[in-house]
Every structure is written in C-alpha cells, then in structure tokens.
Symmetry: C2
Subunit: 499 residues, 2 copies
Amino acid sequence: MRIGGVLNLLGKLLIILSLMLLSPIPFSLYFQDGMTGTFLLCSLLGLFAGGLLLFIFLPDQDLGYKDGFAIVTSSWIGLALLGALPYLLSGAIPSFVDAFFESMSGFTTTGSTILSDIEILPKSLLFWRAMTHWLGGMGIIVLTLAILPLLGIGGMQLFQAEVPGPTKDRLAPRIQDTARILWSVYLLMTLMETGLLMAGGVDFFNAITHSFATLATGGFSNFNSSLGHYQSTYLQSVVILFMFLAGANFSLHFMALRGSISAYWKNEEFRFYGAIVLFATLAIVIANAVAGIYTDTGRNLRDVLFQVVSIMTTTGFGTADFDTWPPFCRVLLVALMFVGGCAGSTGGGIKVVRFLLFFKYARLQLHKLVHPRQVETIKLGKTKVPQDVMIAILSFFAIYLAVFLVASLIVTALGVDIITGPTAVIATLNNIGPGLHLVGPTQNFGHLPALAKLVLVFCMLAGRLELYTVAILFTPGYWRMTRKPMLRWNKKTKKSINE
Amino acid sequence: MRIGGVLNLLGKLLIILSLMLLSPIPFSLYFQDGMTGTFLLCSLLGLFAGGLLLFIFLPDQDLGYKDGFAIVTSSWIGLALLGALPYLLSGAIPSFVDAFFESMSGFTTTGSTILSDIEILPKSLLFWRAMTHWLGGMGIIVLTLAILPLLGIGGMQLFQAEVPGPTKDRLAPRIQDTARILWSVYLLMTLMETGLLMAGGVDFFNAITHSFATLATGGFSNFNSSLGHYQSTYLQSVVILFMFLAGANFSLHFMALRGSISAYWKNEEFRFYGAIVLFATLAIVIANAVAGIYTDTGRNLRDVLFQVVSIMTTTGFGTADFDTWPPFCRVLLVALMFVGGCAGSTGGGIKVVRFLLFFKYARLQLHKLVHPRQVETIKLGKTKVPQDVMIAILSFFAIYLAVFLVASLIVTALGVDIITGPTAVIATLNNIGPGLHLVGPTQNFGHLPALAKLVLVFCMLAGRLELYTVAILFTPGYWRMTRKPMLRWNKKTKKSINE
C-alpha cells in the first residue's frame, strides 16, 4: 500500500472537516452557549493534524485499487476521531470512548447515542452533532454511487449501471463531477425540508438540524422525545416524506429534479421499496385497529407510517412507542430493520435491491426445478444481472451473518443481556440507532461496557461501508496484494477512471 | 401429474404403516394398558384406506420427475394422518389438530409436543410415539441420500457425490439398494444404543424408545423431565454419542462399519461439524465456569456437551435448564439451532454443509476483490462445487427466510407473543422441538391456537423436506409442467435412474 499517499489524502479531508468545525460558531454566538472557543480550538487542532499529514506525506498521483479500501476505512475513522473533539473538550462527554461512539454514530448516520439527556447540551454542540450526520450522509452517497462501483464491492457496480444518468446514459463519469451533482441534490433537498419545517412553525435551528438528521437517515434529534416533540400532522408528514426520499437512490432525485419524474417509477428497486412501505403500513394499521390500540384511524395511519418509514430507512426517529403494539406489528418492524434503504441512498441495512435479487434468485431456483433445461437470467429493470455480481450479493449475506454472530457473542460475553446485546448489534450494524430493551428507543447506549461500545463502533463502520470494504482489510491476501492502478486522483488522468 | 400412480404408491406406503401399527401390541399386552384393540382397529383402518387406494388406482410404471415432488409431500402428510389415529381413537389426544400435530412432529423427527403430562400415556402409545420418529428418520435418510439428488433439490446432488460409496465409488446406485444399505446401518445403530442403554440399567422399553428418538434426532422422551430423568454420566454419554452420530451423514457410518473409519476424517463436512461441537462446548463450559454456574467441571462439561449436541443435531432432548446460563451461552446455542445436522443425517436445520459452503463463498468473494483476475472455484473435499449448485444452496437461505418470516407473521397475528411465536417457528422449521418462553423446554405447544398449530405443522413438513420439495408445489409453473420421465419405479428400467 502507498501509505504516504493515503495519509496525505486523509490530511486533506481533516482540513476540510476543520473548516466545517467552524460552522457551529454562529449558533454558539447567537445562543451565547460559550462554545465558540471550544470549536475554534478543535478547528485549530484539526488544521494542525491535517497540516502535519500534508507536510510529512507527499501527494501520490498513483494511488491504486488497493489503496481505495484503506482510504475509505481510514477516512471514516479519522473524521470520527476529529469529530469527537468538541464533545470531549467541552466536557459534555468526558469519556473518550463515549465521545468516539457518539461521533462515529454521527458520521455513519447511525443515530445511536450514549447521552441520557440530550436537551442539556449546548445548542452549537447539538448543531455539530447533526452536522456529523449530514457530512456522513454526503460521504455515503459519493461512496456508494461513485467510489464503490470502481472498487467492485458486493455487486455495487450494478446499482450505478441501473440508473441512467445525464451524460451518455450514465451519471457524469468522473468521481468529482458525480460528487458535485449528488451533493447539489442533497443540499437542495436539505434546504427544501428546512423551509417546509419552518413554514410549519419550527425555528431555524431545529429545522436545519432535523433536516440534517433526516436527509442522512441519521436519527439524532435535539429532543429527548425525538420527533414525538412535534405533534403536528403537517410537520410529521414533512419528515416522513423526506425520510422516504432519503431512503431512495439519490440518482433518481437528480433525474426527477431535471424533469424525469417517471425515473422513480421506472426503477424496479424504488417500486419494490414503495411496495414494502405500503404493505407494511397497511398491515400494521389494520392490526393496530383490530387490537384496539388506536381509536382514531388518522392518528393510527400517521404513527404507523412514521415508524415504518423511520425504521425501514434506518433513520431511527420515533413518534410512538411501538413496544405497546401487537406482536405481529413488532415482528414486521424488526424484519424491516434488516431490509434498510435503497442502494445509493443514505439509508443503511442490507438494502432493498439485495433482498429483491435474493428473492428473485430463489424464485428462479424453483423455476429451474420445473424447467431444468431452460436457461434463465435474473434482470433488474432491463439490466441482466451477471452471475458473479449475483454471487457477490448472496455472499454479502454470509459476511453480514458472520459479523452479526461474532459481534453478538463478544457483546454478550461482556455481560450484556440476551435482548440488549444482539439488538444493539443489529441497531448499529444496520445503522438504525435504537435497539430493544436496555438500548431501546427510550434508553441509550451509555451504560454498556467500554469494550462493547468499541465493538458497536466497529459494527457501525462495517455496516456503513457495505461490509466488504472493512472485511477485506482483515484478509492476509489484502496486505500481500500488488498494487493495481485503477483509481487515479490527479486531474490529468481523470478520464481513465471509468475505463 | 399422474395422480393415479401417486395415490397407488401412497396406498402401498399406508399398508406398510398399517403393519407397523401392530408393533406396539406386544407392549400393550405386556404392560396390560388396554390399547391392543385400538392399535388393531387403527391397523385395520389403515389397511382399508391403503387397500382402497390400491383397488381404485392402478400402479403407474411411468411416474416421472414431476410426480416425485408430489409423492414425497403427500407421503409425509398421508403417513402423519394415519399415524395420528392411535392418539385420537384412544382418547389420549381428543382434538384432531393436536393429534395431527403430535404425529407430524413424530414423522418429521421434530419432537415438539402438545402434551403437558407425557407420563400418563399408555406405554404402547409412547412406543408408537417413538416409532413415528424412527420411521420418519428412516424416510429422511432415504429421501436425502437417494431421492432428492435425483430430483436435483437445493444442491442435494452434491452431497451424495461427496461421499464415495461401496460400488464404483458411489453408494449402490439404485434407490432400493441404497435404502436397504442405509436402513441396515440405521437398524444396527438403534440396536447398539438400545444394548448400551440396557447395559447401564435402563429397561428394554425405555431403552428402545429413547434409541428410536435419538437415532431419528427426534427428541420425544417418555419422561416429563426428558433425559434429565437419567442422571448417570454413562447413560448421558451414550445418548450424546448416538445423537452426535445421528447428526452425521449415514453414508459415513456405512463406510465406517465396513472398516473405513478414516471416512469420517476425510469428509470435510464431518470435520466442520465436529469442530463446531468442540468449539461451542469449550466456549460455553468456560463461560459457565467464569459465571460460577457450575462448581463441578465434570458436571459442567457433561451438561454443556449434552445441550450442544442435542440442539445442534436438532434432537431436542434436555438435561439442564440452559435458560439460567449466561447470555453469551444462550446466543451461541440459538445460533447452533440454525446450523442443524449434516446432510444425509436425520438432523434438521439448514445443514452444516450449506453453512460451510456459504462461508467459503464469502471468503472467495473477499479473495476475488484482492485478485480480481484469478479464476477460483469452491471445493468441498476434493469435489468442485459447480456454480449452479452453489447458487441453489444460497437461494435455499432466501426461501428459508421467506418461510420463517411469513410463518412468524401469521402465528403472531393469531395472538401468540413475540418470543413464543417466532421461536416456535424456528423450533419446528428446524425440526428441533422446544422453542422459548411459552413453548420452552418445560412447556408445550398445546395452548396455541389451532390455526397456529397447522402453520407449525406446515413448517415441520417444509423444513424436513428441504423446503424446495414443498415450495415447488406452490409455484403455478409446477402444475403446468409437462412430465419428464426421470424417475422410474418399475424393475426393468431401474438402472436408468442414475444415468
């Protein structure tokens, strides 16, 4: 690995994040919460660390395929470390492990928290907390739609090809151009949600922070009662809409904004995603009505739709305590936790498209038993799914299962109980936020042993980076690998990236 | 489908079972439990039903590939219906659904029971209960090693090829010969266990019935406290040994009995199976010791080994209440529930070989990311696994997941709670026996709604018949399928079966 080049790039990212660390300062000054100095100090420390890396390590024009994996994983860890500083230095979260947990939960758009009382935090720190979500969401969109396809991770090359884009039936074929387009969409949608929330009476501070958490499908709220704080049907509807959009492929939004609204309907994953939300909502509404949980059908529909979309997109906002709903509803909600958002969204989980292909293959197998000599292929939309991509997707389930099992065993071995431990792993591995029992929606992760928190931090990271990106670093072969120049970061050779 | 030929074959099977219905009579006479008349009546009713089918429907020499699926599923349902008669007619289980549940639980070697007090049953009825296990186990061995490979179900063709057999490196290449060989092994092992248990002081009746339940990995015991009734290390060791053997491929036992003891070690699935048992046992013993659950290491080892082997082989016998063990131990035991026995054993679950290949493929995917241009294949032992077989195995997980989810949703929709419902589905789909909470080891399935019991009966059947066999009957294509003569049951063309 060209470690110098990787660290030089990390230095650049740290400097960008250091500049972002100045963004809470206007809020600090406005609310007079005394955090201005802390953020200035954090920013300076970040500039110093980033500058040191840039000073020691020269930029490397020949970063290759192999380095891509190290860049992605080390970036997330480096940014989470720097992002933890404001929690630590302000004294709001005095333990390093806790601050790192909260920061990683932000950057991976997970939304699990170790804080028991959120509302006592300084406003500017709450802004920073939401900002980590928003930046993490930005990173994820570019990662899944522009970088992972180049690395050939877990069938991700497929998801890009499926979405026809602006230039030559593809999204702009260069990482930086793709990033710029997607970020504009992301920024525009954030501003739209902020405006709509403010139109409903929410102040600017709470409107923008909750928009950050929504678009990133993160789930950090400024209120202990999460989105239950806003008992207005209008406001909850706005959040439902944007959670749903954030769980869809951002390429589709780009096309829609350019006028091709039909792009949504033409996309098979999006149709399946919508159908699941619709079916789950109707089934739970009926079950709740039969069980007499709600007498008001409108309220039933609103609460159920919110919970279904929040869980399925792995946002993790809450407006109702679904632990009081009938067992059938809870089984369905737990199943949705695993599905997650669409590929190319900010949502976590296994992803809708993987489940779609998983079941398409099962159906094909039954079909093959009936017609053994017929050669059939799986299609996603109009695209044929090559067998090796299919196998990469199926193997994803195996790695997922292995990580889930090992993490659950370690966490329970540390003394965590049998409901809390495995659901904490599910909540972090799928980047949802809250688990059940002692890490349930009304609880937090603060009381877990430090080592368990680090295991969960690993789960957030592995889940967020589509498992393969992190898992490959654990194979001996990776470290013996000879470099294959596939990714080129300098401008002259930019065009060669997609060849 | 040639429905006449299928029903004619079912008639033959019913007549065989009717003769087996006479087997409890000696016990009835010896224990004077007044069941002689009931079993005679059941046998006569079975002979009449079977005879009627034989009289109406002519044998069909041209039963084909398509008919194989219908034969397998209808046989298990038909035999379970006839096998339920003694429970019903004796009045021991007055409800039809309950009697059918108990009988299907026997024939699928599941071991779930609706009885709250087992010890009040007449001895001869207990013998019949154990007999349904034993016959079910016989059926399963032949099904998985001789019939399913011909139907090409879920990669099962692979498991036969993996085990070199007596003639031309294959097990005798005809269904009837294969059946005869495997049944001899099965019978011999049953007699061995019966002898060893009697040598430890168990009376003949309890020795043979528990041997039936062990070799079938069924789990029906004559005691409310299950195998905890025998607190002798010798007796429990005998049962552990035979549970372990029953969870291994019976072709291996055949080879071992002919002198090739090394066959076990040469078989990769068996090595993995042994390694899992060893690892799980050691980990749980240590965790129990650390938590201070056991002070006596010998007792700790014995109880843990028993529980690990009983759960992993899906037998479901119990000697200790593992609900008091640390969370880590319970997570590991629940994970073992899904693994199940080896292919070609009487054990249920997903099967060791499927997990082995699942993780081999995941490893291959990581390897491919490091060496994208290298063409690699998966091997099981020395056999290359073709890609279509591999995909069939991976798709098995998808069908498994779908059945689990739908069944859990139906059962919880009927009002069963969130722990009992899904674990009842797991316990029946994996053919284990007891679940958790209200269907836990010290509870039974009797209190569930009748419709939930029928769903669980379906789970037992689907799980036992490797899902595909049952699932295919739900595809519209199956019923439109043109016959392909692949299976021929008449003697003249017997040789063509394996070509």
